[in-house]
Symmetry: C2
Subunit: 619 residues, 2 copies
């Protein structure tokens, strides 16, 4: 099947005089997770990893992926004739650099206009021009012909996210957005990121695995708000509600043509274009409309339809609106974390009882946890694929068990479970590392050094203006002291019944782009440690940024974190020698909170288990 599609692709290239095609892992919305309809790269390479880019020429093909997927890609590409390029290995060319190496000067290279960010294409166009290679957009419509059994577009119905949970109605959100447009002198704003559309329209759906999102675009002008959504997706009452809030509905497929009609310049170049564009001025000028769009994330095709407009190239303000949760959203996050904590406590108790029998495997454990989450109210589904990993599997950061890899959870090593839920009132993400037997001294030291960073970050107060990159270090100091390190960030933003990963903030030495942490933001706190062949450790809670009234002075505000996640941390793995007194108090205080909050929701046997699990260390 992959070979068929690959052959189709090559025939298409030959017929159109193109020397190469780049097939990214992408949809027209810049999504992290893809609807099946857009898994073309997977379909024509056979490689199922979440990250990977394919380049196809008449006689060569390459797939680029990162270290998480080296082994999987080797296995899945074997015999395909597709060469594996290992991103992150020094000397590995980028896909675009390899395109240039494979093509003669004078070659034409094709790309799907909706599947690459405009800024990426602009940069690559310039770089390839140096080699005499030109880039040409092709329409995604051809994919249907190239891919015989292409899955249909996602067809799950959309549903309303009630104002009581969203904390703000759509009309209010549009008014607020328009204030920003006015301040920036923008006439319109194009929104294609699915979580931004969902947030703005108080709409949820099930078009993408793990993410309660709906495939749609939005265009907001000073007096219109158009939602481009597949016909039939919206139940009548939801459609009516949106219309009452001032939203016009349009077919999903009209998005690009409508942009073109309004901002393309047209034949009469009504809005000016070319050189005139530079002189288009303020409100009273006759120049083109000023459209706010983030060319770093918007697709090439989208930006191309704005030829007649002047662009305000900045990240969408919705990213920040969405990241700063209001009271209703924070309340919802707190409530769903109680239900999630109840499921986790029942799960850990069950594991403690069942693991010694030797019959619990990584997969059956994950299934049991899902069952327990389903017992909670408002549960919709997992927020990402569960990492249930025993022993050496825990050292593979993005491990997820399958039938082939599944092993029994034992009592000799460490068990790591990283999972989360989508609830109608919020999103959770929690990791616990547990030993069901007797941990040795090294395991306890390693676990406690990770815990020290986790606790220290959770009790840190920091001044306004501090960004996540600055805080990332705090979770690492106790590991660095012992010559240890982990290769991922310490925290990512989390949506309110939206994606489990969201920006613009990140507690990360590499992902943070300088966005200061602000009250209402929600972040994970997940330091770890990975010893290949032995075990992995990660301890993850979700935190909310809140004001710190005690330290705030008139001239300088301080903020601190509030733990949303409620689940005990394995005390048997703690060796207090590696904790400061403040960290010991922080753990005891956290366990008091977990106990007090969850106890009323637990049946007697589980309540007893929780009492034991949350006993203070300091007596």
């Amino acid at each position: 099947m992959p070979q068929t599609i690959l052959a189709n692709l090559r025939r298409f290239l030959a017929a159109n005089g193109e020397s190469a095609l780049v097939v990214p892992s992408a949809d027209p919305h810049g999504s992290e997770y893809l609807p099946d309809h857009w898994k073309l790269r997977e379909a024509c390479s056979g490689f199922t990893g979440s990250a990977g880019e394919l380049v196809v020429t008449a006689d060569a093909a390459g797939l680029w992926t990162d270290s998480r997927y080296y082994l999987q890609a080797e296995a899945q590409l074997a015999g395909s004739g597709i060469e594996l390029f290992r991103l992150g290995v020094p000397g590995t060319p980028s896909p675009w650099a390899q395109v240039a190496a494979w093509c003669q000067p004078g070659s034409r290279v094709a790309f799907f206009g909706q599947l690459h960010a405009h800024a990426e294409i602009t940069r690559q166009k310039a770089a390839l021009a140096e080699r005499g290679v030109t880039l040409h957009p092709i329409s995604e419509d051809v994919i249907d012909d190239l891919w015989p059994e292409r899955p249909a577009p996602a067809a799950a119905p959309a549903f309303a996210h009630p104002d009581a949970l969203a904390g703000q109605g759509v009309a209010d959100k549009l008014t607020h957005l328009r204030e920003f447009l006015e301040t920036e002198g923008a006439d319109a704003h194009v929104v294609s990121a699915l979580d931004a559309v969902a947030w703005l329209m108080n709409l949820r759906g099930a078009d993408i695995a793990y993410n309660p999102l709906v495939v749609a675009h939005a265009l907001v002008t000073r007096d219109e708000a158009i939602l481009f959504i597949p016909v039939g997706k919206l139940p009548d009452d939801v459609a009516a509600g949106l219309q009452t809030s001032g939203v016009t509905l349009a077919p999903y497929g009209d998005f690009l043509s409508e942009l073109d009609r309004r901002y393309g310049g047209g034949d009469d170049r009504r809005y000016g274009g070319g050189d005139d564009r530079r002189y288009g001025g303020g409100d009273d000028d006759a120049g083109g409309a000023r459209v706010w769009i983030d060319t770093e994330t918007a697709s090439w095709a989208t930006v191309d339809r704005l030829r007649g407009a002047r662009l305000l190239e900045k990240p969408s303000p919705i990213t920040l609106f969405k990241a700063i949760k209001n009271t209703a959203e924070l309340d919802g996050m707190r409530r769903c974390h109680i239900r999630d904590g109840v499921a986790m406590v029942r799960f850990l108790k069950w594991m403690e009882e069942q693991v010694p029998s030797g019959r619990v495997t990584e997969l059956s454990a994950a299934a049991r946890l899902l069952e327990l989450r389903r017992e909670g109210e408002r549960f919709v589904g997992p927020s990402f694929e569960t990492i249930s990993a025993y022993g050496p599997h825990g050292a593979i950061v993005h491990y997820a068990p399958d039938q082939a890899s599944d092993v029994a959870v034992g009592t000799d090593s460490l068990y790591l479970i990283d999972s989360g839920g989508q609830y109608l009132d919020g999103t959770t993400d929690i990791t616990r590392t547990v030993c069901f037997g007797r941990p040795d001294a090294k395991m306890r030291e390693h676990f406690t050094r990770v815990l020290a960073g986790h606790l220290q970050l959770s009790i840190t107060s920091f001044p306004q203006g501090t960004c996540g990159k600055q805080l990332d270090t705090i979770a690492r100091e106790k590991l660095w002291e012992a010559g240890l390190q982990y290769g991922h960030g310490t925290g990512h933003g989390i949506g309110a019944f939206l994606g489990v990963h969201e920006g613009p903030h990140a507690i990360s030495y590499y992902r943070c782009r300088g966005q200061a942490l602000l009250p209402g933001m929600v972040t994970s706190n997940e330091p770890g440690l990975y010893l290949p062949g032995q075990y992995g450790i990660r301890i993850e809670n979700v935190l909310a940024v809140v004001p710190d009234p005690e330290r705030t002075r008139p001239e300088l505000s301080f903020y601190m974190f509030d733990n949303l996640t409620l689940c005990p941390i394995d005390r048997a793995l703690v060796d207090v020698r590696w904790l400061t007194p403040a960290q010991v108090s922080a753990l005891d205080e956290y366990h008091r909170l977990v106990r007090a909050t969850l106890l009323p929701h637990l049946e007697p046997a589980t309540a007893g288990w929780l009492m034991d699990a949350t006993e203070p260390l300091a007596k």
Copy 2:
């Protein structure tokens, strides 16, 4: 005098049909400190602060400066008709935005082509074009006419920095640089930053206050190295030495015309230009030369002379070569820090004896310290203007005493002295905060919280790839805990008998651009705390980055810091309640090092003082 120059400027603008002129605080080399010859902004505004930009139109003028200089600028601009714009105050327009506000659409705005970075002009050109305003370069030659008493160009003779101190000869440095040119496919590299020229040519001078630099440009091609330097600057033997190393000497004034001759494209556009430029290719192509230049720092005029070349727009590799000190440079840095420590110890003992008399002032203390530094071998001069600040003056971060502000150093508050020396074998930068009376509990808590951060950073081991922004936090945690903060970075790079500020690394939450710290780099470690109206605290040592053999494993290297600065820290200000046991040990260990290293160089009375000052806290 400023009014005369301003009037001349306006006449010049009127005569040339220009609506405005921007006068930055700059020279053609992007220097931090300016030779007097280039202090045009100061000469035509009367404002003497080190940072400030002037905009002049026919009937308006504005000066932009930052919070360090608000008061000084207000005083110096009073009655000048020049409006003060306070950078950092919300709503303050940038100078360029104000230019656009002052000028009608269709206006021409002039700038000095050598005094602005090319990238800055490119950005402003685009922004001003939106308002219908165009930018036009003017030659710096007109400054002589506009400024009647303009100081002559700096005329101090240059001298050789011996290979024994530089650790690498010029010929070797050129070979190494050319390897980088080859790797990047560059045919030539333009060097205008004065410290880069000085490093590359093993040349020092005295053209700029506090900086042992020579005004010169360099051009390095695959087979030539041309030093553009004022005729007569080089003693014959130094000139001969450079020529032996493969350097061709050219008059300073020929720099731009020589670039133009080689890379300007000329009338016959020998190297191609316009559209052809995009297709110029590899070594065997007939396209233009590929010139490596950092358009973010190189002047507009310089880049303009490269019209016929293809540009490789990247920071100069010399910035990193220079930052990573070799063994000879590190040895020199260590040796000069011993002499600097001897001067500081004598100074602190002298202050302890003299201050109670009430006759020592901020200025006389600074003079005494300079005298003591002069007694040391190889001393050349101060590395920056000494900050000698008692009580509330210490809370002004960039305070330097003058006759008007000078006060007696007393015993009731804290005294802060931040100073450094240029030595033939290295550069120093040290801050100590001392109490010559009995500090109260609050002073001790504040001092010790700053010290905790200083010590914690100095004993941190960190993995390869860590950048300064990540480490900056470590120096702040103990302050944040008490709701305190300081508004500057924690560390800057320091040259080896070069500028006291150098990149590309910085231990700073805002200045660090992601450059990882590497063994051989040198950085300051200077957390502080400033209480307006009360006192300031800063504790600064110079550190070298060195390998950490104990923590390094085959798969991951760890680095740590080595203290170069040798001078006791005031133990009377330390309250051990605010230190961890590891920090107490670190201070004691540091004091043992200071004692052991300096003792052999001290006369008996000072040796006795040092013995007391370095007694361990933990007994």
